[in-house]
Symmetry: C2
Subunit: 146 residues, 2 copies
């Protein structure tokens, strides 16, 4: 059981890096380098974040991706949900007809655990994950030691 | 992001069914039928639960799997951990040397969310997931309507 998928990991790091840059388009190549990501993989993540209204994309020679949300008002949950949607259990995952919309105690308990994850990550903002004194940055070593 | 893998789902249902049977060996075929599982897949799950000391396995014509833990003293966490080990973040998942044993704020926050999942599921016993009045059972429809 792993809470953080690779997609979520790279989405969070891209957003964290963009939040520390001026609000102008940043090239995929640069974002990839600063977050230790493969550009071909990262582009899909950035497109999903754009679709969710977290980034804007600009084509052309001076194009790139820009963070359009305020880091203090953007939750960790929203970033993860944009690339690896969080599955709460609303109905019997087995589709058992007699269960209908009522969860059995097992699925109910697992969904309660998911609810605690949702609450924790909805309360966490991207701003809280930026440079924190005494902690390493969530980016690359190359980026930390220019 | 999904908290409950297929392996965890079937492990929990097998344990829930066994907890409601007399403590004698139950055949894989019967457990599979009562929990809507494919026998070939289920056997691996049952073997993992046996390795973790939650079930005992007995070979032979009257063989099968027996729950050897008390449902009131067996946590949901333990059952899941036996088949789909829960990954807390102890070190930088990227292996960044400069991070060492100190998590960046991002991984620290995700690990905090995992800690809430761990606490919730460690406090939940299998007994609490058994037949609860007003709720459907976590088993098959065939088993519910003989």
């Amino acid at each position: 059981m792993k809470l953080l998928s690779d997609a979520s990991e790279y989405a969070l790091r891209a957003v964290i890096w963009l939040a520390q840059r001026p609000p102008s388009p940043q090239k995929v190549r640069d974002i990839a380098e600063e977050t230790c990501a493969a550009p071909g993989y990262l582009i899909k993540i950035l497109q999903s974040l754009t679709k969710a209204g977290i980034l804007s994309a600009q084509r052309g020679i001076n194009g790139g991706f820009t963070l359009v949300r305020d880091a203090s008002d953007l939750s960790v949950w929203e970033v993860i949900d944009a690339v690896d949607p969080i599955e709460r259990i609303r109905q019997c995952p087995l589709g058992l007809k007699t269960h209908g919309d009522t969860l059995c105690p097992m699925h109910h308990r697992i969904d309660q655990a998911m609810a605690t994850v949702e609450a924790t990550l909805r309360e966490s903002t991207i701003e809280e994950l930026l440079d924190v004194p005494g902690f390493p940055q969530a980016l690359c070593e190359a980026a930390e030691q220019p």
